[in-house]
Amino acid sequence: MSATPSLLDNKLVKWFDQRLPIVSTMHHAGMEYPTPKNLTYWWNFGSLAGFMLVVMMVTGIFLAMHYTPHVDYAFASVERIMRDVNYGWLIRYIHMNGGSMFFVVVYIHVFRGLYYGSYKSPREVLWWLGIVILLLMMATAFMGYVLPWGQMSFWGATVITNLFSAFPLVGNWIVTLLWGGFSVDNPTLNRFFSLHYLLPFVIAAVVFLHIWALHTTKSNNPLGIEANGPQDTIPFHPYYTVKDLYGIGVFLIFYSLFVFFAPNALGDAANYIPANPLQTPPHIVPEWYFLPYYAILRSIPNKLLGVLAMFGSILILFLLPWLDTSRVRSARFRPIYKLVFWVFVICCVALTWAGGKPPEGLALWVARIGTIYYFLHFLVFMPLIGWFERPLALPKSISAPVLAGGKA
């Protein structure tokens, strides 16, 4: 690679880099980084997530210039952004739909990891950091949704903060601490705004660690086997920079369809009614990306157990490197796990559907069966399948299958 001219050949850059090696570090991480040459488009979603984080921070900072975090003015200030502020509607719709797009991207990113066994040794810490990012994103999105102070903002905040009261002894103390009063009110809105501004920057810091861990253990790939040497990898730049950019282009088309043609399709109309602490809307639902957890919560008719199952459904992901007993990473070579993986995807979709319906009749039963299946998948199927499944033969190297195909 020394043959290609680089920024570091410049004397001035070199002088600077010897004093703060930021240029060589970036060059190392963003250009030379040896990447498996067989990555598919499923590997685009990490950079897409990073792109969405930047979009959310930029639009959020501009929204914050016009937004007023006070129960008497918040709703009106958001309507002012929509009607009076130049391009305010655009900035808000990018931010509002951006929350959803961020979750679309991150969920695909996570399911990619589940399919290709990216959580297995030596990538456990990388996987954990990903879950930490997911949890922080959830907290951020939840508090952001409270800011416009509509009916769903208020009642969503009430229901979710009350979840913490389920914990014995400390529960009510935590809830009061979240509220800063006796109910969701102005102090709550103020602190949520403060934290909603802060957490994305914390996420950025964890993303940094996530990428650091990635560059230490190197990327997994669709075959789930390690690269044997330079013949199995290509430099990140230009091969994957251009592929990631292309992915961002396609993704922006999808994102723009929502922003420009269906900006409220993913939202709830009730959030355009100002918050009323005395009247609960007939049907409270969170944003779509929280529906599976909401379904799990409501499927259990006991407050504490419901709350524990809901939190547990995400925390269980931390244990995945040990719950999966198979030595083979990629589902490509795991005929039974592959099948069970897709049933699990269907289970998550079903939970999402059930979480959006009132908890009665069919939806309640789908939620209950889905909840049981969700935990069975991780606690029973994953350990057992790894134990009795006979994986297919793994290729000798990343290059081997391609070269064999070329000869044939």
Partner: protein, 185 residues
């Protein structure tokens, strides 16, 4: 310190190591206590402030509320249900077998005067406002209130009977100022 410890003497090295361990622990402890006392005001600042705590009590005139009617008043930002119970409602609340209740409390402990039931209108599950105050609202299987959020049923004493809520609707502190007016809080 390196000067005072005799180099090569086992005792000197040992003494020095002990002293250093002690100083290290002392510094660590002082740092931990210092940090904790700096964090405490920050956490404490998130609790209700003095003006929030001082939120005034609410006076309610009961005279216009007819038998069978209910009104909702606001106290500390929360709805409070005031229901003028009918004799049948009082009777059904009183005759319940305490063993059938998830959160057993006799009706007599939840009211000052049997015809007036005063409870905080916040579902003890996750904080929604139950239905049942207005004519035509669903009142659940036990004739009190029904919480539409996750389906909790409360009886005519505001006690939880069915659904995910763990506890009865709370009874706020209140006093009868006159025969027909109360002060909540």
């Amino acid at each position: 310190m390196a000067d005072t410890a005799k180099p090569g003497s086992a005792a000197g090295v040992h003494d020095d190591a002990n002293r250093r361990d002690f100083l290290f622990l002392l510094t660590g402890a002082a740092g931990a206590i210092g940090t904790a006392s700096a964090v405490w005001p920050l956490i404490s600042s998130m609790n209700p402030a003095a003006d929030v705590l001082a939120l005034s009590s609410t006076e309610v005139n009961l005279a216009p509320v007819q038998v069978g009617q209910a009104i909702t008043v606001v106290w500390r930002g929360k709805p409070v249900f005031v229901r003028h119970r009918t004799p049948e409602e009082i009777a059904s609340a009183e005759k319940v077998n305490l063993k059938d209740l998830p959160d057993p409390k006799p009706d007599s402990e939840r009211v000052k005067k049997p015809e007036w039931l005063i409870v905080v209108g916040v579902c003890t599950h996750l904080g929604c406002v139950p239905l049942g105050q207005k004519l035509g609202d669903p009142r659940g299987d036990y004739g009190g209130w029904f919480c539409p959020c996750h389906g909790s049923h409360y009886d005519t004493s505001g006690r939880i009977r069915k659904g995910p809520a763990p506890a009865n609707l709370a009874v706020p502190g209140y006093t009868f100022v006159t025969d027909t007016s109360i002060r909540i809080g």
